[in-house]
Structure formats: C-alpha cells, structure tokens
Amino acid sequence: MPSVSTNLNAWPLCSVGLQSHCNQFPCLFLSAVDAYEFSALEYGVLNKGQLMGDPAVANNADPVEYKPHFHEWATVQPGMICLARKKKTAVFRQYIAAETAVPVIACAACLPKDDEKNYFFAGVARSKSVRTPDDGIGPNVDEFFTVSIGGMATILNTSGGPIYRESARPCFTNIQSHV
C-alpha cells in the first residue's frame, strides 16, 4: 500500500489544503468572497490622494473611484490575487462559510493605499466565482472557489513594467564571503 507522501506526489491537484513535497505543485484551498468586507468598505468615493497614498498628492481630492456594485466587486476570475484581513478570526464564529472556506477579497476597489497593512496574501484564484446582480437586499449564497497558496501560478503583470525571470544585480562586496 503506498504511503501518504506517495499519494500526494502522484495526485497533487486534488488535495484541498495539502501540498506535496515538491514545491512546484500547487497547494489548494477552498475559498469564498467575504461579503462582510464589502459592507465594511469605509469609503464610497476614493480620491486621488487616498488611492495613491503618496504624500505629494495627499491633498488631491479629485474623485477617482466609486464603490462598485456587489456583483462586480465579488466576482473572481482565475489568476486574481486574493487577500484576507488580519486579526479577523474573532468574528469567524458568526460566519458559516468560514467553517469550510477561507474568506478573502479579490477586489481592491475603494481600498486606500494606507490599508495595505491590514491585509495579508491569501492565494491566487484558480477557479472562477462569477456573481450575478442581486435584488438589492444583498447576497444570500456564498460561491466557493479554489485558491492556490503554493506552487506555480499564472497571473497578470499589472506592474506597468517588465518583471524579469532572471536578473543580474551588482553587489559591491567581498567575493570570498559568497563562495
């Protein structure tokens, strides 16, 4: 009878919350969009200073971003970066979806740059969760999708510049310390 590790190496994609010994294979989790985060968005309109978080434009009050509809905000496509809020485990007891899935957000709309410190990386979406416009009362179901927390992922380069696979960086130091 094969061992557990042998099974994981042979079939790494189907294990939820498990990872094989080889870090090239993905580690998958079940996840759901945290609808409470949508209602907790502090800003309905984000100005340029809040968006960029740059002291040079901190006083720029030009409206740049408006709070989207829930179905726009909560729709997740494969390859999107998912985040989760720090220090939120105390409220998970009221959250049924948190029993089986990781509550995450995949949309940064109306989140200012200064709020980055309140979130941590939860994974890269591997399956989609497309929401439909609701009746205005609010969401009544949680649509689950899978996120990858380890292994290879294909994501979109939104940095505005190239990201190199291998880069050469000069280092002015004593070579003997690196040999």
Binding site: A108, G151, A153, I163, R165, E166, S167, H178
Partner: protein, 99 residues
C-alpha cells in the same frame, strides 16, 4: 550563480544572478492608473516588483513578457503577452534568510 569583473582598478564587484524578480501584491502600483475608473471595472489587487524585505511578497517570477513594449502601459489594458508565471512562496535561500 555569480560572475566577476577582473580588473585591478575596480573594487571587487560580484554580479549576482537572482533566480527571478520577487513579486509583491499591492492596492496601487506603478501600473495602476490614477484616472477615473468608470469604464474599467473595479480595481483589482495588482502586483509589482518587490524588494527582499517587503512583507507583501507572494513569490518570484519564473518567466517574463516585457510589459514595457506597450506604448503606454498605464492606460492600455495589459495583453495576454503580459502574463507571466510566478512561483508562489518559493524563495531562494538567501532571500528567505534576509526576510
């Protein structure tokens, strides 16, 4: 991997070939437009090149397509050619030790 300049006039320079640029998530990066986003859909979590000491690192790049080939990559949506592969949370040993 490393290479050196063999010169008597220069100080010892070590060229480090990193395994790939480290990538971090961000709400607003250099590729995010600061214009009104009425017709672009809600803003998503973006990525950008990170330093080894960043607390938001998600992985390192394994392949690359040059996004700067776009005439104005800040306003034109990124194409499929801008997709690159990223190895999540598998850092070179030196980077892991320095974080």
């Amino acid at each position: 991997m490393y290479d050196t300049y063999n010169s008597d006039t220069l100080p010892c320079v070590l060229i480090l070939y990193a395994a790939g640029d480290l990538v971090e998530w961000c709400f607003y990066g250099t590729g995010t437009t600061d214009k009104a986003r009425a017709k672009q859909g809600p803003r998503r979590v973006g990525v950008q090149v990170a330093s080894v000491s960043s607390p938001k690192i998600i992985g390192r790049a394994l392949s690359v397509k040059n996004a700067s080939k776009q005439p104005d990559h800040k306003t034109i949506p990124l194409l499929v050619s801008d997709i690159y592969h990223c190895l999540l949370r598998s850092f070179p040993r030196t980077a892991r030790l320095s974080m």
